[in-house]
C-alpha cells in the first residue's frame, strides 16, 4: 500500500477545514529544508498562529490612552533600534576605553508616548502573553500526566504555595521584589512537598501525587487565611486580597527579564517532550510497556510545568481558568494529540490573556483584577463551546 503524503488525520470527530490540522506533523516529520518548513507556517489554515501577533500590536495601540497605530509602530521600531545602538555604543566604549557614540535616529515624538509604549504597555503585553501561554502549556501537560481533562496547573498546590509566599512577602516587607521571590519560592516548595508525599507513599503513582497536591494545597490555603487574619485591615490585607485576584498592572521590564527565561525554558522543555506526553496520557503501565521511563518523564514534566507556573504566578498573582480552559479549547480545535495541542495551547493562552488584560485595563477607570475577568469571560465562552461542539471525553 502507498503512504499518503498529506496529514492523514482529520482531528476530532468531524472534518474541519481551517484549523491547524496536522500542521506540526507536516512541518517536522519529513526532514524538509528549514525555509520550506517556515513557509508552510503561514498558509491560511494556520491563521491561529498569527492571532497572538495581531493581538500583540493591537494591544500596544489600545488602552485608555489610545495611540496612533503608525506612530506606535514607529516608536516601537525606532526606539528598539536606538536602544540597540545605545547598548552598542556603551559596549564599544568600555571595550575600546574611550568614548564611542554611534549615530541614532531622531526622536520625533513626545517622551510621554515613548514611556507609554516602552515602560507601560510593552512589558504588560509581553507579560500577558508569557503568563497566558505558560499557564496553558502547563495546564495541558498536567492534563496529560494525570490523564484527566479537569486538571489545572495548580493541582499540585503551586498557586496556594505562591499565594502564601506573596502574602508573607506583603506582610513582612511590601517590596515587590521580595514578594515575587517569596511567591516563586513557596510555589516551588509546595509542589516539592506534594511530590515528596506522593513519592514516600506510593512509588510516585499519579493518583497519590494528586492527593499530595490536595493536602499541600489546603494546608497553604489555611496559611493564606492565617496571614490575612493577622494582616493590617487598612493596609496589607487589601494588598494580599488584590494579589490573590491577579493583575498585571504593576509589571515592569525588570519583571519580564526575570521571569521570561524560566517560562520560556520550561515551555520549550514541555514542547520537546510533547509527543511523549501522549504516551503518559494513555496510562502509566501501558507507557512503561511502550518503553517510556515514566518516573523520569513525570519528574521532568512536573518540574518544567511548576517552574513555568510559579514564574507566571509570581508576577501576575493567581489567575484561574486559563490553564484549565485553554487546553480544552485547543483540543476542540486540533484534537488530543499533544504534538499539536502544546503549541496551540500556548498560542491560544497568550491570545486569551492578552484580550482579557486589554479589557481589564480599559473597561473601567479602576483596574479590574484579572482572576475575576478570566472566569467572567472564560466561563460563559466555555459553556458556549461545550454546547456547540462535541467534546471527545464527554460521552
Amino acid at each position: 500500500m502507498t503512504h499518503r503524503k498529506e496529514p492523514i488525520i482529520e482531528i476530532g470527530q468531524e472534518p474541519r477545514k481551517n484549523v491547524a490540522i496536522g500542521f506540526w506533523r507536516s512541518v517536522f516529520r519529513d526532514g524538509t529544508p528549514a525555509h520550506e518548513a517556515v513557509l508552510r507556517l503561514i498558509p491560511a489554515g494556520k491563521a491561529i498562529y498569527l492571532l497572538p501577533i495581531i493581538l500583540f500590536f493591537f494591544s500596544l495601540f489600545f488602552g485608555r490612552y489610545v495611540m496612533d497605530p503608525v506612530e506606535t509602530l514607529r516608536i516601537l521600531t525606532v526606539g528598539t533600534i536606538n536602544a540597540f545602538l545605545d547598548g552598542a555604543s556603551s559596549l564599544l566604549s568600555t571595550v575600546s576605553g574611550h568614548q564611542v557614540l554611534l549615530p541614532s535616529f531622531e526622536q520625533t515624538w513626545e517622551a510621554s508616548k515613548q514611556t507609554v509604549v516602552f515602560r507601560i504597555r510593552l512589558p504588560r503585553v509581553i507579560a500577558a502573553m508569557l503568563v497566558g501561554g505558560g499557564l496553558s502549556i502547563a495546564g495541558a501537560s498536567f492534563q496529560g500526566l494525570f490523564k484527566n481533562p479537569l486538571v489545572s496547573p495548580d493541582i499540585l498546590g503551586v498557586s496556594a504555595g505562591a499565594g502564601f509566599g506573596a502574602a508573607v512577602g506583603i506582610l513582612l516587607s511590601g517590596n515587590p521584589m521580595v514578594i515575587q521571590i517569596s511567591a516563586f519560592f513557596f510555589g516551588i516548595l509546595a509542589v516539592a512537598v506534594a511530590y515528596g508525599i506522593g513519592h514516600t507513599v506510593g512509588k510516585s503513582s499519579t493518583l497519590v501525587l494528586v492527593l499530595g497536591g490536595i493536602i499541600v494545597g489546603s494546608l497553604f490555603s489555611a496559611f493564606i487565611s492565617l496571614t490575612k487574619y493577622v494582616a493590617d485591615p487598612y493596609d496589607t490585607l487589601p494588598a494580599i486580597v488584590f494579589w490573590l485576584m491577579g493583575s498585571l498592572s504593576a509589571v515592569s521590564n525588570a519583571d519580564i527579564t526575570a521571569v521570561a527565561p524560566p517560562i520560556l525554558l520550561g515551555s520549550i522543555c514541555l514542547f520537546l517532550i510533547r509527543w511523549r506526553i501522549n504516551l503518559l496520557a494513555v496510562g502509566e503501565e501501558e507507557a512503561r510497556a511502550l518503553g517510556v521511563d515514566t518516573k523520569r518523564m513525570t519528574i521532568v514534566l512536573v518540574i518544567a510545568s511548576t517552574i513555568v507556573t510559579a514564574s507566571a504566578v509570581c508576577i501576575s498573582g493567581i489567575i484561574g481558568w486559563v490553564g484549565l480552559v485553554v487546553p480544552h479549547i485547543g483540543r476542540m480545535l486540533v484534537g488530543p494529540d499533544f504534538r499539536k495541542l502544546i503549541p496551540v495551547s500556548a498560542v491560544l493562552g497568550a491570545s486569551f490573556l492578552l484580550v482579557v488584560d486589554d479589557i481589564a485595563r480599559t473597561l473601567t477607570a479602576a483596574e479590574i483584577p484579572l482572576g475575576i475577568l478570566t472566569a467572567l469571560i472564560g466561563a460563559p465562552f466555555f459553556a458556549y463551546l461545550l454546547t456547540r461542539k462535541k467534546v471527545g471525553w464527554i460521552s
Binding site: I8, A289, L290
Partner: protein, 277 residues
C-alpha cells in the same frame, strides 16, 4: 529461546508469594497459553516479564539478556504488550494510538517520522484493520480497540508478544478472529505468550500450555497432555468435559452442569432425555 523464565517468584508484601518457582520458555513462532483461575498471579507474572514489577527470586531473560539489566526502551523494542482493555480518556485516533507503539524506536525529544508512519500503517494492514485508522479509540467497540492495541504492539516490531486475556471482552465472532490473528502472527515468527480464561482457545492455537494454580505451575506441556479433566478440575475447581467435536474439527472444554442450572437447551440434543421427566 526468546523468553526464558527461571524459578521466578514474586510477592507484593514480602510474605505471601503471588507465585514461586515458575519456569517457562518460549521459542520463535511458538504460542504459549497460560491458564489459571482469577487472581492466581497470571497478570503479575506478565508484569514481571515486562519488568514493570521486579522479581523477588529467579530471572527473566529476553533474547538471552536479563530484563533487570535492560533499559525500559530496550525491553519495549523486543516485547509488545497488549493489555486487557484500554480505558480511553482522550479521544486519540487509532493512527495516533498505533504510532505510540513506535516509542521505543524514537528518541525522547523527537516526534514520529515518515518511517514511523509507514511502520504504523504496516501494522494496520498486517491484521487487516486499515479502515479503522482514523476512528477515535473512545468510540470503538471492544473488538475494534483490541485489534488496535494488537496493531500498536506490532508497531513496536517485537519478537515476543504478550497478550493479557485478549478475548475477555470480545463476542464469540471477534474471539475467533482474534485467535486467527494470533495464530497468523506466530506463523510469521513472533513468539506469543497469552493469558486466557478459555482452555478452548489454548487448544485452538497453542503449542504449549501452562496452568498456574496457587502461585505454582501445576502442569506444562503440549495442549493435549495438559488440558485434561483432572488438571482442569484442579485449576478451576469444577468438572469440565474435554471433548473432540468432529463437526467443529476441534477439541472443546465444556463445564458440566453440577449445580442444576435450569436454563433451556438441556433437552435439545437428540438422544438425551429431559432432566427430571
Amino acid at each position: 529461546m526468546i523468553l526464558n523464565v527461571n524459578n521466578a517468584s514474586f510477592s507484593y508484601d514480602g510474605i505471601t508469594k503471588q507465585f514461586e518457582d515458575v519456569s517457562l520458555s518460549l521459542r520463535q513462532g511458538e504460542i504459549l497459553s497460560l491458564l489459571g483461575r482469577n487472581g492466581t498471579g497470571k497478570s503479575t507474572l506478565i508484569k514481571c516479564i515486562l519488568n514493570i514489577l521486579r522479581l523477588q527470586g529467579g530471572t527473566v531473560e529476553i533474547g538471552g539478556r536479563r530484563v533487570d539489566d535492560m533499559r525500559t526502551e530496550e525491553i519495549a523494542q523486543q516485547v509488545g504488550y497488549v493489555p486487557q482493555a484500554h480505558r480511553a480518556v482522550f479521544p486519540f485516533t487509532a493512527l495516533d494510538f498505533v504510532l505510540m507503539g513506535r516509542a521505543p524506536h524514537i528518541a525522547t525529544f523527537a516526534v514520529p517520522k515518515e518511517e514511523d508512519y509507514k511502520k504504523a500503517e504496516e501494522a494496520f494492514a498486517r491484521i487487516g484493520i486499515t479502515h479503522l485508522r482514523e476512528k477515535c479509540i473512545s468510540e470503538m467497540s471492544g473488538g475494534e480497540s483490541q485489534m488496535v492495541m494488537i496493531a500498536r504492539a506490532l508497531a513496536q516490531e517485537p519478537s515476543l508478544l504478550i497478550l493479557d486475556e485478549p478475548t475477555s471482552h470480545l463476542d464469540i465472532g471477534n474471539q475467533t478472529t482474534a485467535m486467527a490473528t494470533i495464530d497468523r502472527l506466530a506463523a510469521d515468527g513472533i513468539a506469543i505468550l497469552m493469558c486466557t480464561h478459555f482452555p478452548d482457545h489454548a487448544f485452538l492455537v497453542s503449542h504449549t500450555v501452562a496452568i498456574l494454580e496457587k502461585g505454582r505451575l501445576i502442569a506444562q506441556g503440549r495442549a493435549e497432555d495438559v488440558i485434561t479433566k483432572e488438571n482442569l478440575r484442579e485449576a478451576y475447581g469444577i468438572d469440565i468435559c474435554v471433548h473432540y467435536i468432529k463437526e467443529a474439527g476441534r477439541t472443546v472444554c465444556i463445564p458440566m452442569n453440577p449445580c442444576g442450572c435450569r436454563g433451556g437447551g438441556r433437552a435439545n440434543t437428540a438422544g438425551t432425555k429431559p432432566h427430571g421427566t
